[in-house]
Subunit: 204 residues, 2 copies
């Protein structure tokens, strides 16, 4: 891809923005969300506090943008932009693969610390929570909706099933175990969730 | 039940404890978790700060005990102590009934505010989170495990299903919608979750 040469000012502010994201994510991992401050982020990024306040109004907003950027970079490196859940024709296998990848991400401290901090802040701070959900969680859920609709078209999911509710059968248990420490998470666990969700727990 | 007459000191401290619980719950509902302080609870309860610190080390601990007590009182008034999920022989109907009651509770501000505050604090404060889960969430999940085991014995759930995982198909989606505002909660919603979990979303 050919990039247009950026004017100096744009290049400088891109560099500052990147430094601020890196500093915010590093501080949350090392010191925790509560001990992360705008001042601390500015000092570590080598910018003035006013540079941060020009773009964001709180550390939660900085962290939300930094985390979204982290996800976009990871997806870009993996050549998955824009990302879709694979459709190999085997719904169970496709869902298991994407949930296994999610487990790996949730167990990676680089993702876990900022994601957990944002999720927690979102629970008590309703405005941030709704932004976190709208920008981060709902777009991810929409990918499952599209994959389940394709499965309905292929006859692998009943036509009367609401995909937006059905996806929660495997997504929400993983989210709750991770967020509330109600149980361990593993590939075997998410595989089981997919099997139960597709085939039900009652005898067939 | 015949109660032993309490010595004056015990009666006085029971009365203080009750006043502290009431004050803590009322403050969290009215002012929010962040603006609730030990000082504020003490003032409203008409006790000294040191009375609170004699029994608890933080406002989170006070609130956890107050909330557990609220649940016990509600269950006691409804004659449901010790509580079990009903077994009418119709698993779907029994699960739908208990989840509908849970929806009603989650939509009741008296429960919502303290429960949400504790859940949020538990996400970032791992020690409190584990105590919250151990004392409040896991005992509730255990009731579903027992009901699903009875269903397995009656042939209504496959023998190879792990009840501890299976219950998450309907409990976790409700928990996530409520906690993270990812969607509305209603009786129709939890009824649908139970149907999907029991019979699966793939054609039978």
């Amino acid at each position: 891809m050919v990039e247009k040469p950026a004017p100096d000012a744009t290049r400088r502010s891109e560099k500052s923005r990147r430094a601020i994201y890196d500093a915010a994510l590093a501080l949350v991992v090392e010191a925790g969300y509560r001990r992360t401050t705008i001042e601390g982020i500015a000092a570590r990024a080598g910018v003035g506090k006013q540079t941060i306040y020009r773009w964001w109004s709180s550390k939660a907003e900085v962290l939300l943008d930094a985390f979204l950027d982290l996800g976009e970079q990871a997806a870009g490196q993996a050549g998955q932009q824009p990302y879709e859940i694979p459709d190999t024709g085997d719904l169970a296998a496709d869902l298991k693969a994407v949930l296994r990848a999610t487990v790996d991400e949730l167990l990676d401290p680089r993702f876990d610390a900022p994601y957990r901090a944002l999720a927690a802040e979102g629970v008590v701070n309703e405005r941030l929570g709704r932004e976190f959900v709208a920008r981060l969680l709902l777009p991810a859920l929409e990918l499952y909706v599209r994959r389940l609709r394709a499965a309905q078209a292929a006859g692998a999911v009943r036509a009367d099933v609401d995909p937006r509710v059905a996806l929660e059968l495997f997504v929400s248990p993983l989210a709750q175990r991770w967020l509330q420490h109600t149980g361990p998470i593993s590939h075997a666990y998410t595989d089981t969730l997919v099997d139960y969700a597709l085939y039900g727990i009652a005898p067939r």
